[in-house]
């Protein structure tokens, strides 16, 4: 069976949205983070990023934006490689969320 990311000729996939749009700051940071992890530090290979993106459960894959898939895959890989733990990431997210509410 074809995997969710394998879209070429996918029936009813719809038209490609060609409109330009601005990037949110978190999207730019995600892009920068990946470049640091791949090209600068050689911690992640692009092949691994692809594999991690393809591992996103199909239902989540379908609802995520482009950079949501990237950041999800980056999380998967840096946890896999022992750079951060899931708990450390969650704790940091809570800290940031608490700051934003003030």
């Amino acid at each position: 069976m074809r995997h969710v990311h394998d879209r070429g000729g996918w029936p009813d996939a719809g038209l490609i949205a060609r409109a330009e749009h601005d990037y949110a700051m978190w999207e730019k940071r995600t892009d920068a983070m990946l470049r640091v992890l791949t090209r600068d530090r050689h911690i992640i290979r692009v092949d691994e990023l692809r594999r991690a993106i393809e591992s996103i459960p199909p239902r989540d894959y379908e609802t995520m934006s482009y950079y949501e898939r990237w950041i999800t895959a980056i999380e998967t890989l840096i946890i896999e490689k022992g750079l951060l733990t899931r708990a450390e990431i969650d704790r940091r997210v809570e800290t940031i969320a608490a700051t934003r509410q003030v």
């Binding site: 069976m1 074809r2 995997h3 394998d6 070429g8 000729g9 290979r45 092949d47 691994e48 692809r50 594999r51 393809e54 490689k81």
Partner: protein, 93 residues
Amino acid sequence: MEPQFKPGDRVCIRVDYPARHFRTPGYIQGKTGSVTTVHGAFRNPESLAYGGDGLPTQFLYLVCFDQTHVWGAYPASPDKLYIDIYEPWLEPA
């Protein structure tokens, strides 16, 4: 190690959907084309994707297909599709 195919050889793309990362899109599987270029041997991305060393290297080919063959509903035309495919996905046709 020598490449199994040379420019001009007719090749068929294997049909396979392993439950892991692979580099050959579904729309080209089962289709027949001809080798245009032997790019050389490269580390296997299907191993690199899991942190492996990608060895042994695999030959990578540029393979040419008729668009009318790849897509059932494609209008009559001489249009071609060129796609890079690693040797383990190719069979003689």
